[in-house]
């Protein structure tokens, strides 16, 4: 841990601090965490913004590095794999924080998850595991944003503000979510397609009509 060059140690401490307390963590706090004077941060990175950019780059690099080769079922579970492989570091917490505040890392991460889901869902669709959609791309966005966004709000509801332990976050959320999520994915929510049909009919006259194939009710 201490064999790292001080520069890298500062960077990692910054990632930890940002994950733990948010992006308004102080330069002095980061310095203390790294066991280093505050001035050294300026000396190495020039400015706090530059440090933040380097943290972004490092986190993105780590995410790409452990690029999920085997995408599991739900995005939530895929995310679980990330936190797992990260050896419970704060990479995932940093990413969550960035997603929450609309940062660069967050957008890239979400786009990446959507891309991954596209492949997996496409394959599962071809093999008959997953039902086709009238708007596949929008469905991918929905699945990913709802999974990650729902996760963030579950954490809020439980009063969790420290994002440094990624694995813990995953576990908390999946404990209270996995079952009903799978249930929703397998049985849906509505007993018939009347509401969907009504919606499709309502927007039928619009210029940009979705290529909606009304699916019959599922028994």
């Amino acid at each position: 841990m201490d064999d790292l060059t001080a520069r890298a140690r500062i960077r990692d401490s910054a990632i930890d601090a940002f994950a733990a307390t948010g992006f308004d963590a102080t330069v002095r706090q980061i310095a203390a965490r790294a066991g280093v004077s505050a001035g050294l941060i300026t000396h190495h990175f020039g400015s706090k913004d530059a440090l933040r950019l380097e943290c972004d780059a490092e986190v993105l690099r780590r995410i790409l590095e452990l690029k999920v080769d085997t995408i599991r079922m739900s995005p939530t579970q895929a995310v679980g794999r990330i936190a797992e492989l990260d050896q419970y570091g704060s990479t995932f917490g940093y990413t969550l924080r960035s997603v929450r505040e609309g940062g660069e890392v967050g957008r890239v991460f979400l786009r990446g998850m959507i891309d991954d889901a596209r492949e997996y869902v496409g394959a599962a669709e071809a093999s008959g595991m997953i039902r086709p959609s009238g708007d596949p791309e929008a469905r991918l966005e929905l699945l990913v944003t709802q999974s990650i966004g729902g996760m963030l709000l579950q954490l809020n509801l439980q009063g969790i503000t420290d994002f440094s332990n990624g694995a813990e976050l995953i576990q908390i959320v999946s404990n209270s979510t996995s079952f009903v999520l799978l249930e929703l994915y397998t049985q849906g929510l509505l007993t018939d397609s009347s509401i969907l049909d009504a919606y499709v009919e309502q927007v039928a006259g619009a210029s940009t009509e979705p290529t909606a194939t009304t699916t019959g009710s599922n028994k």
Copy 2:
């Protein structure tokens, strides 16, 4: 608009500013927005935190005031009604911001939405519109957190940072979401219940086993 007492005007301007640029909006920015000196804010409210608390209270009061009497289908749509009734003010944007950062208003709002959903879903379930769940309470939390959380992330993906126009936010999200959301709710995602079954079996030995009724695959 100007017939309001200056105190109320400051409060409303603060709500606007918080919705538009976030909770780190400056006292001086708020003062400028209200057409008032910065000192007057201290004079009336004592501190910025106290002002924030009063904003929270006011927003909660407004939300309760237009208490959704007719809950529509999805939480997203119920939320749409709120922004509508608010005459496109920034109450909803303030609420979203609070939800995002885990504030008091946000938690109360989410709890309220879950309570509302409990009533509506219960009724719809009794009338056969909505399928029963093996864990109804967890499903309510899932539906609400995923809807609102997904909305926030959709906004992030589209680069929207100004939350002052609540109706606009709703429209943007529902445009790209409504169809696939209804589709997911009516047809589900998976073609059979094998994954759900496997999950249920896996957690069968645990101490806290969910009262899971494995539902058969929907044709």
